[in-house]
C-alpha cells in the first residue's frame, strides 16, 4: 500500500515552487514501526500551500517563512503529525496509521477509491501478511486473515482443492466461490471438473491454484453484493481482487531485484490412536485375508490351531500366508506395527521466486519468475508449478498511456484417490499384526499380482505408488493489455477512457489410471481434459468533477463482453492386455467423447458517486447483463446497488473528542444474480457408471452399435437467473490515536429462485429438471478488531481479530422437494434441506424414544441384544460452523518480528468415515478392551436406562458385534463435531541490519504452518474431506490427511 501511497503523494503535492523567504529547515522522517526512513512524506507549513516531500532517504529540505510556527507531516498509511518549528533540524518519527483511514483500495472494475468513502465492507491483505510463511497456496495463505469468509481446504495433499466462501452459500449445487479478478481481468478460479458425489476418484484442483502468492502485491476482498454489484451476474459470491506486483512506486531509475526462497518440511498432522492388542481376524480367531482386526490377541498368535507355530517346530512364531506368497519364510514372531507412521514420509515444499522491476518518469515494468516444488506426505503425491509474469506500463504523452500484464503458469499435480477408491484405506486400517511396509506388495516375478492383507476392494498402498496414476497438468496464460486516454478539461474536471482486452486460456489434461492388476483386475484408464478460453473486452469511461468545495462527482460508464469457449475430451479405456504399459492403446474397451460449449455475457454498467465535504459518500451502480446460457427472450437482467457512507467523526462535536479518531457508519443495498444453464431437451448416450459399479459395465458403442435415450436431465424454458438481494450496515471506529480500531458489519442476504436440478420423482422417468426454486437467507455478523497494545521505539505489539458468524438457512426448495443431494452416498449424504442450515449431513439415525434417548434392542435372542438400533434416516448435523474466530498477533522488536495466526472454528459437523471404519475394522483404540463387560449407554423402551450387560468371558463377540455390525450400520455414529483451534502460522522474521551487506536488504525467517492445537474430532485433522464442491468439509472417508509444515525462508532485495 505504501508504494501506491507514495505515488499518489507525488501526484498530489508535486514539486511546488517554494517562495524564497528566509528560514531553511532540514530533517529526516523515519517510521516508528521499523526505524526505517520514509520517502515521499509530504511536509508542509501549516496554514499555507508551502511544502515538499521527502527524498529516497527520508530527508527533506524546506524554506519556510520566518513567522511559520508548525510543520505538518503526512503520509498515506501514517498518522499525520505536526511539529513546532524550532531550530533548523526537525526529525520526525511517524506512527503508522493502524487502520489506514486514508488508504486507497481497488474496488470493482479496478476503480480506486478511498477506503473511507466506501459504503460497504471490504478487507485487504497485503503481500507481507500473505507471505509470512511462504504458503504456495493462496487460499491457505488467507486462512484466519479475513472476517466473513470461510476457507475450506480439502486435504494436505499438494495442490488439493480449496474454496473461499464469503458470507455463506447462495447456490445449492452451483458455484459459491467468489469471482477472482487479477489486475482488472476476471479469471477462472473454479475447478474445471466437479468431483460430484465425492465418493470415487481423486480430488480435482481448482484453478485459483495457478496463482503464485509471491506475485501478489495486495488482495482486496469485496464481501458484499453492493461492493461487487458492478460485476452483475458474477457478483453474487463476492470478489477477490488481486493486484500483482509491478514496478509502480519503486525508486525511479534504479532496478530493484527481489529474490526469495522458502523451504518447508511437512509431517502428517495427526496419527490415529490404534488398538495394539488384537490381530487380524474375526470372532476372536486369526484370519489372514480379512480386512478386520477382530482376531486373537497378537501375543497368542503362536497358539493358533492353523497358523500357530507352537508345537510344530516354530515356537513363539506364527505363519503369515502373505510371506509365503512372497516366497519368504512365513514364520515370524508376532509383533505390533504402526502402519500409519510407517507409510507417511516427510514432505518437502520449496518455493523460489525472483522479481526485477524498474520505474522511471514515464512508466515501469516488472518481471517475475517463480517455481514451486512440493513432495507430499503420501507416496506419489506432489505438485510442481512454474510461474512467469511480466507487467509494464508506459505513458505515451499527456493523454495516452498503455500497459500490459501477462502471466504464464504451469501446474502439475500427482494425486491419490479417496473414499471408495481409497488409496490409503490400508494405511489407515491395516491390522496392527500385519507388517504392511515390510511384506512385499507383489508376488515375486509378477509385479501385477498384489500381496495384501485383505481382499482387493482397495489396492495395497505400496503397490499403488508404482502402478496407479492420478495426475493433472495445466498450462495457462492470462493477461491483458490496455490503452488509456486521459483528458483534464479544467482543473476540476477529468475524463479517463480505458479499453482493456484480456484473455484467460488454459488446458488441463487429467490422467486417472488404475494400473493392470488394480483391485485384482486388469485396470482402467481415463484420459480427459479441457481447453478453456475466455476473452474479456472492457471499456470504461470515468469522469471526475469537483463541483465545488463541498461536492465531488464521479461517473463511470462501461461495457464488458465476456466470452468463454470450452472443449472437453474424455477417453475411457478398460482392461489392459498386460501390465507395465498403462496406456489407452493397451486397453481393450475404449470409449471416447468430446464436448464443446460456448458462453457469452455482455454487460452495460454505470456507477455514480457523489460526496459531500468528506463526510457523506453516496454511490449508486447499475448493470444490465445479457447472458447466452439462458433461454431466448429471457436473457437480459438488471442489477442495481446503492450505498451510503457517513463519516460521523467529521461532525464538529465529535471532532473535539480526543480519543475518537474516526467514526463511520455505512449502509448499502444491492441486487445481483447468477445465471444458469439452459438447453433444449435432448437425447444422450446411456451411462452405466455409479451404483455398485466401479467402472462402466456397459459402454457404448457395443459391438459397433450406439443408442440414445431421452436425457434424464430436463431444462425449464422459463428459467431465470437466481437473485440475491442483500443489505448491509456497518460501523468503523478508530480510537486512542488509532491504536484501537473496530469494524463491524451486519449483512442480510435473501436469495431466491436458485437454479438447480430439481430432483424429480424417479417414477417420472427422469432424474431432474433444471429450474428455479428455493429460498435461502443468510445473516452475517463480521467484526474486525485492530489493536496496538504496545508501541515504543523498539517494540511493537499488534493484534488483530477477525470474527465471523454466518447463519445460512434454506427456507424453501422447489415445490415437492424436501432436500437436494449434494454428495456422498445414498446414506449418509450431504444435502440441502428445508429449514436446515446449509448444508447438512443426512443419514440413518439411532432409533430413539420421543425424548431423543437412544433405544436398545431388548430381544435377548438377537446378536445386538442390549445394543442400539438403526432408526429412520434424518438430519445428523450441520456442516457450517457457528462462528470462526481468526486472530493474528505480531511482536516486533527492532529487526525481529514474531507473528502468529490463530483460527478457532467453533461448531459444525462432519461425517468422518475413517473414524467409523477404524471402529468397524476393530483398529481404533476404542476397541482395545474386548474382554470387559459393558452396558451400552442407551435406554429401554420403558424409559429406564439400559442395564443389559454384554461382553465378558461368556459373550466374547459382543464388542465386535457392537462396532462391526451394529454401530457401523448407523450413520449417526460416524458424525462428529469438528470444532478446532489451529495455529495457522507461526513465523519469526529477522531483518539483517541495513548495510550489513551494502545496498542489499536481507531478511530470514523460520515458520510453522497448520499446527493443530485442539479439535473435537477424534483421530484425524478435521480439515480433510472429500469434494471440491459444496460438500467440502462435510464428508470424509479415506481422505488424504492434513500436514503440518516447518520451514525457513530468506529474502534478498537490492
Amino acid at each position: 500500500m505504501k508504494k501506491i501511497a507514495l505515488l499518489l503523494a507525488i501526484f498530489a503535492i508535486g514539486l511546488q515552487a517554494v517562495l524564497a523567504q528566509t528560514k531553511e529547515i532540514t530533517g529526516t522522517v523515519t517510521s516508528a514501526d521499523d526505524g526505517m526512513s520514509i520517502p515521499g512524506v509530504s511536509v508542509s507549513v501549516k496554514g499555507t500551500t508551502l511544502g515538499t516531500i521527502t527524498d529516497l532517504d527520508g530527508k527533506y529540505f524546506l524554506k519556510v517563512p520566518q513567522d511559520a510556527k508548525t510543520l505538518v507531516f503526512s503520509f498515506v498509511g501514517m498518522q499525520t503529525q505536526e511539529a513546532a518549528i524550532s531550530g533548523t533540524t526537525i526529525n520526525v518519527v511517524m506512527e503508522s496509521d493502524v487502520v489506514g483511514i486514508n488508504e486507497v483500495v481497488v474496488t470493482a472494475m479496478g476503480i480506486r477509491r478511498d477506503a473511507k468513502a466506501l459504503g460497504y465492507a471490504v478487507q485487504d491483505v497485503d503481500s507481507e501478511e500473505l507471505m509470512k510463511t511462504g504458503s504456495p497456496d493462496l487460499a491457505k495463505a488467507l486462512q484466519g486473515k479475513v472476517a466473513g469468509i470461510d476457507i475450506k481446504v480439502s486435504s494436505g495433499m499438494p495442490g488439493a482443492s480449496s474454496q473461499i466462501i464469503i458470507r455463506g452459500s447462495r447456490s445449492f449445487t452451483g458455484n459459491n466461490t467468489p469471482l477472482y479478478v487479477i489486475d482488472g481481468m476476471p479469471i477462472a478460479s473454479t475447478a474445471s471438473y466437479n468431483t460430484g458425489d465425492g465418493v470415487t476418484g481423486a480430488d480435482i484442483s481448482n484453478r485459483a491454484l495457478d496463482i503464485n502468492p509471491n506475485d501478489i502485491e495486495s488482495i482486496n476482498v469485496l464481501k458484499g453484493q453492493a461492493a461487487a454489484a458492478l460485476y452483475g451476474l458474477r457478483a453474487s459470491n463476492g470478489v477477490v481482487i488481486i493486484t500483482t506486483k509491478s514496478g509502480k512506486g519503486g525508486a525511479k531509475g534504479v532496478p530493484v531485484v527481489t529474490i526469495n526462497q522458502t523451504t518447508s518440511f511437512e509431517k502428517v498432522s495427526r496419527t490415529p490412536d490404534y488398538q495394539t492388542t488384537w490381530s487380524q481376524g474375526y470372532s476372536g480367531a486369526y484370519s489372514s485375508g480379512t480386512s478386520m482386526s477382530w482376531g486373537a490377541k497378537i501375543t497368542e498368535l503362536p497358539n493358533d490351531p492353523t497358523y500357530g507355530g507352537n508345537g510344530n517346530g516354530h515356537e513363539g512364531m506364527y505363519k503369515v500366508p502373505q510371506l509365503e506368497k512372497a516366497g519368504l519364510d512365513p514364520w515370524v514372531k508376532p509383533q505390533v506395527y504402526n502402519n500409519w507412521d510407517d507409510y507417511y514420509q516427510t514432505g518437502v515444499t520449496s518455493t523460489s521466486s525472483a522479481n526485477v522491476s524498474q520505474a522511471d518518469d514515464n512508466g515501469n515494468f516488472s518481471l517475475g519468475l517463480g517455481y514451486t516444488d512440493q513432495t507430499g506426505i503420501a507416496l506419489n503425491t506432489g505438485m510442481e508449478r512454474w510461474n512467469a509474469k511480466a507487467t509494464a506500463e508506459r505513458k505515451l504523452n499527456n493523454n495516452f498511456s498503455v500497459g500490459f500484464n501477462a502471466n504464464y503458469a504451469k501446474t502439475v499435480i500427482d494425486k491419490l484417490t479417496g473414499a471408495n477408491d481409497g488409496s490409503l484405506a490400508g494405511v489407515l486400517s491395516a491390522p496392527s499384526s500385519y507388517n504392511l511396509k515390510g511384506i512385499p506388495y507383489h508376488v515375486p516375478g509378477d509385479p501385477y499380482t498384489q500381496i495384501y492383507y485383505r481382499s482387493l476392494t482397495f489396492d495395497n498402498p505400496y503397490w499403488i505408488e508404482k502402478n496407479n496414476t492420478f495426475n493433472e497438468e495445466t498450462n495457462r496464460f492470462f493477461g491483458n493489455g490496455y490503452v488509456e486516454y486521459n483528458a483534464t478539461f479544467t482543473e476540476d474536471m477529468n475524463l479517463t477512457v480505458k479499453y482493456q482486452l484480456g484473455v484467460d486460456s488454459y488446458t488441463t489434461h487429467f490422467q486417472d489410471i488404475f494400473g493392470y492388476g488394480s483391485k485384482g483386475k486388469t485396470g482402467e484408464i481415463n484420459n480427459y481434459g479441457v481447453t478453456d478460453m475466455t476473452y474479456n473486452s472492457l471499456l470504461t469511461a470515468n469522469y471526475d468533477w469537483k463541483i465545488n468545495n463541498d461536492f465531488q462527482l464521479n461517473v463511470i460508464l462501461g461495457n464488458e463482453l465476456d466470452h468463454n469457449r470450452q472443449k472437453t475430451y474424455d477417453q475411457y479405456g478398460q482392461e489392459f492386455n498386460f501390465g507395465g504399459w498403462n496406456h489407452i492403446n493397451n486397453a481393450n474397451t475404449v470409449t471416447s467423447s468430446e464436448e464443446q460449449y460456448q458462453n457469452r455475457t455482455v454487460g452495460f454498467f454505470s456507477s455514480l458517486s457523489l460526496s459531500w465535504k468528506d463526510m457523506l459518500f453516496f454511490n449508486a451502480t447499475g448493470r444490465n447483463d445479457i447472458a447466452s446460457s439462458m433461454p431466448r427472450d429471457n436473457r437480459s437482467f438488471f442489477y442495481p446497488s446503492v450505498s451510503l457512507g457517513f463519516i460521523a467523526s467529521e461532525l464538529n462535536f465529535l471532532k473535539e473528542l480526543d480519543w475518537l479518531n474516526f467514526a463511520k457508519v455505512r449502509g448499502s443495498y444491492a441486487e445481483v444474480g447468477q445465471a444458469g444453464t439452459y438447453y433444449e431437451n435432448f437425447f444422450s448416450k446411456p451411462n452405466y457408471g455409479g451404483g455398485f459399479w466401479t467402472g462402466e459395465p456397459v459402454a457404448y458403442p457395443v459391438d459397433g452399435v450406439n443408442t440414445y435415450i431421452p436425457n434424464n436431465i430436463l431444462y425449464d424454458p422459463a428459467l431465470k437467473p437466481q437473485n440475491t438481494k442483500s443489505y448491509e450496515v456497518g460501523v468503523n471506529l478508530k480510537m486512542f490515536k488509532n491504536r484501537f480500531g473496530i469494524d463491524y458489519t451486519y449483512s442480510r442476504q435473501n436469495v431466491e429462485d436458485q437454479i438447480f436440478q430439481v430432483p424429480l420423482a424417479g417414477s417420472t422417468g427422469a432424474a431432474s429438471l433444471m429450474m428455479n426454486g428455493g429460498k435461502v437467507h443468510t445473516n452475517s455478523h463480521e467484526v474486525m478488531l485492530y489493536l496496538t497494545p504496545i508501541s515504543t521505539k523498539d517494540f511493537t505489539w499488534d493484534l488483530s481479530v477477525n470474527y465471523s458468524k454466518i447463519d445460512n438457512v434454506v427456507d424453501e426448495l422447489a415445490p415437492g422437494v424436501e432436500s437436494i443431494f449434494l454428495g456422498g452416498f445414498v446414506t449418509p449424504q450431504v444435502r440441502a434441506g428445508i429449514g436446515d442450515t446449509y448444508p447438512v449431513i443426512y443419514g440413518t439415525q439411532y432409533k430413539k424414544n420421543e425424548k431423543g434417548q437412544i433405544l436398545v434392542n431388548e430381544n435377548p435372542g438377537d446378536a445386538d441384544y442390549g445394543m442400539p438400533m438403526a432408526g429412520d434416516p434424518g438430519v445428523l448435523g450441520s456442516v457450517s460452523p457457528d462462528f470462526i474466530l481468526g486472530g493474528s498477533s505480531t511482536f516486533t522488536y527492532k529487526n525481529i518480528s514474531l507473528s502468529a495466526v490463530f483460527e478457532w472454528k467453533n461448531g459444525g459437523h462432519m461425517y468422518s468415515g475413517s473414524n467409523g471404519l477404524l471402529d468397524l475394522y476393530g483398529m481404533s483404540e476404542r476397541t482395545e478392551d474386548r474382554e470387559s463387560t459393558f452396558i451400552y449407554q442407551g435406554y429401554k423402551a420403558d424409559g429406564t436406562p439400559n442395564d443389559i450387560v454384554r461382553g465378558g468371558e461368556t459373550d466374547p463377540q459382543a464388542v465386535q458385534t457392537l462396532y462391526s455390525d451394529v454401530l457401523s450400520n448407523i450413520d449417526e455414529y460416524y458424525i462428529f463435531g469438528n470444532s478446532f483451534i489451529k495455529l495457522r502460522e507461526l513465523s519469526l522474521k529477522y531483518f539483517l541490519p541495513k548495510n550489513t551487506i551494502p545496498k542489499v536488504d536481507v531478511s530470514v525467517s523460520a515458520f510453522a504452518r497448520n499446527i493443530l492445537l485442539w479439535t473435537e474430532l477424534p483421530n484425524f485433522d478435521p480439515e480433510s474431506s472429500q469434494g471440491n464442491n459444496n460438500i467440502a468439509g462435510g464428508f470424509e472417508r479415506f481422505t488424504l490427511p492434513q500436514a503440518t509444515s516447518f520451514g525457513f525462508g530468506v529474502e534478498v532485495k537490492f
Partner: protein, 482 residues
Amino acid sequence: MKKYINKLIIACCAVVVYSCSEDTMDDINKNVNDPTDVSSSLIITEAMTSSAFSVTGSDLAFYSSVYVEHNVGVYNQMYNAEIRSNEPQSSTTYNNSWNSIYQNLLNLKTIIEKCSEGGSEEGNFHTLGIAQTLTAYNLAILTDVMGDVPWTEALQPGVIFTPKLDKQEDIYNEIFTLLDNATTNLAKETTFPLLGKQDFIYGGNAASIAKWIKFANGLKARYTMRLSHKSADYDAVISYANLSFTNASEQCEFNYNGTTTKSPFQQFFLDRDYFGASKSFHDKLVERNDPRDAILFKPYDEDGELLFAPNGSPNQAQGVYAISAISSLTAPTYLLSYHEVEFLKAEAFARKNELDDAKDALKNAIIAACGKDNIGISAEDAEAYYQDEVLPLLTDQAATLKEIMVQKYIAFFEEEAVEAYNDIRRLKAMGNDFIKIDNPLKFPLRFTYGSEDVTTNENVRNAYGDGTYVYTENVWWAGGTR
C-alpha cells in the same frame, strides 16, 4: 475528425448490439454435443440392454439372491441384507433399480409414441410390438417386487411431479393388454426396416419377429401363473407356454461380450465381492446328489477350502467363503428362459394332476437348465440325473409339484434370482412351502420403493411409511392388499 469519431462510435455500438442479439446468443448456446431427436431403432437397443442388465440382472437380482438363499451376503450391503439389518426396509436400497425401470419405461414410452398413430414412425408395428412387450416385462418386474406402483400418472416429467400409485391388479391388467397388443402388432406387416444389429437380443433379422412373439407368449404364461393364488388358469398357462419357446436357442437371453458389456453377477463380484456360497442351497443339491453341486461353487482361493456361508449368520468377511463358479463376464441374463417356460408347463400340468405331461416338461426343463452355457452338463448326463435322482422323488401330485418347484429354484441359480423370489412368495401364498429357507430371520415379503420417490413424491412416501411394511404386507398377488 469529429465525423470519424461519430462513425466510429456508431460502428462500435452496432458491434456491441449485434454481439448480444438473441440470434447471436442462440447460436452461442446451441447444444452441438447431443441430438434433439433420434429414431426409435436407436432407442430400443438401450431398452433391451437396460431391461437385461439394470432391471433383471443387477441390484434386484443381487438382493433376491440373498433372500432366496442362492447366495449369502457376506459383506457390506449384502451382509446387511443377509442379517436383515437396515437394507431390506430402507428406501435407498433399490433406488437405482427403481430409477432404471422408470427411465427404461420412459424410453419405451417414447418409442411407443413414435410408432403409434400420429407419431413420426406410425406403422412401425414390429418396433412397436417389441416396445410393448418390453414395457409389460419391465412393469411386471416392478410391480412383482414392489406391489402398487405409479403407472397411469408416471412418466410425465415436468408435468406430473407426484404420480399416484395404481393397484397391482390394475397394473396386471395393463400388462396383459400390452402383451396382447404386442403380439397383434408383431404379427402385422410393416414397411419399416428390421432392427438389424440394433436388436441385441434376437439379432433383428427376419426370423427375430417370430421369436419376439414367442417371448411375449411366454410372458403371458409366466404372468398368468403368477396370478394363480388370485385366479388360477393353468390351461391358459399351458396354451401360452405352447406358443412360446421350443428350445433354448429361442429363449430371450441377453448375451454379454465380456468387454463392452459385462455380466452383472461377475462384475458385482469383481467390483464388490459381497457374496459367499449359500449353505442351504448347497444342502439342497447334496440332498439330490445333483451333478451341479460340483459345478456351481468354487473356493475363494484356488487351493483354499470350499467353505459355505451359513444363512443368516455369516461372518462379515471377504475372501473366506466359497463363491459362485458360474459367474462369468459373459454369463447371459435371461429375460425369459426356455427352461422357465418348461417349468411353467410342468407346474401347470402338475397342478392339474396331469403328471405324465408334468414329468415330460420337468425333464425338458432340467436338461435345458443343466445345459446352460456356464454349467455345460450334457443332455445325456442331465437325463441320467433326472432318471436316477429326480424321478424317484415324483411319487404323487404333491411330491411332483414340490420337486418341480425346487428344481425350478435350482435352475434359476444365479441369474434368474428375481423370478425365484417371485415364485417363493407365490408358493407361500398358495400354502406350498416347498423351498426351505434356512435363514431364521424375517423374510422380506417385498422390496421398498425407491428413495427418489419417497423423498419427492408424497404418494409413494405415504405408501412407504417407515419401510417396515416389507416384513408384514404381501403384494396383492401373494394375498396382500397392495
